[in-house]
Amino acid sequence: MSQENTERLGIVTSGSLNKGVEARLDGSASVEDIAVGRYVTIEGKKRRFFGMITDISLGVIDQKLTVTPPDVSDPFIAEVLAGTSTYGTLHISPYLTIGGDATSLTEGPQPVKTIPSHFSPVNSASQQDVELVFGKEDEKRFWIGNPLDMETRLCLDMERLVERSSGVFGKSGTGKTFFTRQLLIGMLQKSKAVNLIFDMHSEYGWEGSSEQGLKVKALKQLFPAKVAVFTLDEESSKRRGVLTDFIVRIGYDEIEPADMALLRQTLNLTEPAIGAVYQFRERFGKNWLEKATNPGNSDETRDLLKELNIHESTFQNLQRGLAIIKRLPFIEPHAPADAVTHILDHLNRGTNVVLEFGKCNDITAYALVANLLTRRIYARYREKTEKAMAENSTGPQPLVITIEEAHKFLNPEVASQTIFGTIAREMRKYNATLLIIDQRPSGIDDEVMSQVGTKATFLLDNERDIDSVLSGVSGKSELKSVLAKLASKQQALIFGHAVPMPVAFQPREYGSAESYKDLIPNGGTEAVKQAEQDIEELWG
C-alpha cells in the first residue's frame, strides 16, 4: 500500500478495544502539531488500522521531573529530554481495518474487532487512506468538505444518507444552514430522493445572507428546473423577488385535532380543551373548527356544551387558542386549491419543494403547517408504498422532509402525537425520512434521536445537548472531546449510518461564485452562465 505523504508519529504502547489504544509520540514529532480529530493509520502486523486521535497527553518517565523541572531554557537539555524522559501520548480510537482478510479486500474497510499489537508504528493518514475509507466523488458520493487539517475531499454517500433520517445540529451561527444547503444540493444531485423543505426562515429556496451580509444563493437559483418554491406569504416572496410556483392556503376543514394537540403548549391550551377538540371533531366532522368558533347564540352554545359535557372555562380556553389560529394570514375558511396535491405532484415529478414561511415564521404557524401537510403526505406515501408492495412494483420516490426547530415537534411530550415522531420511528419503510435541523438536540425525544441514522454536529457547548447527540454512539467520551474542541464556526463532526467512521471536517466553501460553479454539474444551464457572469463582474 502506498505510503506517500505520511509522517511517522509514534508507536502503540497499550490499549484495549473498548477504550482505544495509547501511542507514545516519537521525540521528533511535536505534541503541538497534533490535533484531536486527526486521522492516523496504525500498521499492525497483519492489517492496517484506521483511527482518529481523540486525546493528547503529556508523560514523564520519572515523577521527579515534575517536581524539579530541568532547565529547559537550555535548548540542548530540552531537545535531549523531548521524547525520552518527557514524551507525548496519543489516545487513538481505531475504527476500521483495511486489508488483512478476504472480506476487507472485497468489501473495503471493515469495523475493528481487534487492536494492533504492541509497538505497531502509528502514521498520520495520507490522502489515499482517507479516499480509501470515505470513497471518491462519484455519481453517488457528494463532496461535503475536507477532514480537519487535510486537503482530501471528504465525500458522503448520498444514497446511504437518505436511507435513514439524519440530523444537523449545532449552536446558532455555527454554520448549520450553510451545511444544510449543501446537503440538500447533494441529495438533489446524487440521490434519487426528493426533498420537501419546511423553510422557516426562507433561506433554502431563494437567496439568504451570510453573517457578513453577503447574499448567498439557494436551491431555486442554482437548480431552477429541479426546485419549486411554495410560499405561505406571497407578499414577502414578491418583495424578495422570489419566483414562486404556488401559494399555499390552508382551509379550516384541513385542521385536525391532532394538530391542535401538537400546538397545545404554544397556544396555551389545557388538556380538557384538547379533549373538547376531539369531541367537536366527532360531532361536526370536518367543519368542527367553524362550529367551535361560532357555536351560535348563547343558548345554543350552552346546550351544545352541556350535550358534549364541556366546561365553560375549557371552552373559553379553546376559543382563545382557535382565535390565534384563525388570525394566521394563510388560514382561510376554504382553501382555493389543495396544497398537498400540488406538493405531491411536484414531488412525484422529482421536483424538490421548498415551502417558504415568509413573515409567518412563528412557531405556531410553522408547527401547524408542517404537521398538517406532512400528515397528509405521509398518508399518501403510505398508501402508495403499500400498493406498490402488493403489486410488487417499486414504491414512490424516496422522500426527505426537512424541518427546522425540530425540538418543537419532537420533544418527548409531543413526539408521540406528531407525524414527525412517527416518521422518525418507522416511515423509512414507506420511503420517507427526515432531515432534522436543530440547535437544541436535548429537547428532542430520546426515542426519535436514537433512530436518526446520520448526525452532523457543529459546536455544541451545553452538556445535555452533547450527550443527546452522542447517545448510543460507541466511543462516546472520545467523540465528546473532539466535539467540544470544534471551532465555533464551520467545523463539524459527522457520524452514523452514511459514514464508515466519525469524521471531524470543515464543510466546503459555499457562497462564492466559484463555489456555485463547482456545485453545478457541467452543462450549459442558466445557473452556470449566471455564475460565470458573477465571476466576471467580480473580477472585471
Binding site: I61, D62, D74, V80
Partner: protein, 197 residues
Amino acid sequence: MSETQRVGEVIEASSTDFTAQCYELYDSPSLGSLVKTRDADVELYGVVYQAATTSLEPGRRPIARGKDEASEEAVYQSNPQLLKLLKSEFGTLVVGHRQGDKLNHYLPPQPARIHGFVYLCSPEEVREFSLSFAFLNILVNAHLPISTEELTSATLRQMSQVHQDRRSFLVAAGKELALLIGGNLNQLKAILGRIQT
C-alpha cells in the same frame, strides 16, 4: 604523527579493563579517549578512565627537589634520573571489540594480552565506533574509582570532536542516556550539564 599512534603497552589485564604503561612519562591519552589493543585476531576497544604517574618502586615516594630551581623544567634537567624512576600508567575500560569485520559493543571473549601494544584510535575509527551508543550501557554501569558522570561525559566530549555535527551527536547520545538512566534524574542532569556545547 601516524594515523594510529602507539601510546603504551598493556601491563595488567582483566575481562573488563586493562592497564597500560606509557612509553614516555606523562604521555598518557586524555581522559575518555578511545584506545585499542590486539589479542590475536580480536581487537579490543577501551575508554581511558584513569591516568596516574607514580614512582617505579611502590615503597619509594618522590621527594621535593625544586627549592633552588628557577622553573619546573629545570628540576627535571638537573635530575635526569627522574624520568627513569617515574612511570605513567593509564587504566582502560573495555567497551567493545572487533572480531573479523564485525564491530561489537560488548566485552570480548578474552582479556587483553600483557605487553600488547596500545594505540590511540584514529578519528575514522572513533566515528565508526560511536555510530552505536550501545557502549554507553557499559560506561554507566561500571564500578570505577572515577564517577560515572565524569567518565561518560568525558568520553562523549572526546567522541563528539570527530563528528561533523557535534551537537546532533551529543543530542542523540543524550537521548540514549535519558533512556538508560531515566530513573536517575540527577545523574542524567549532571552528565548533560557536562556535555553541553
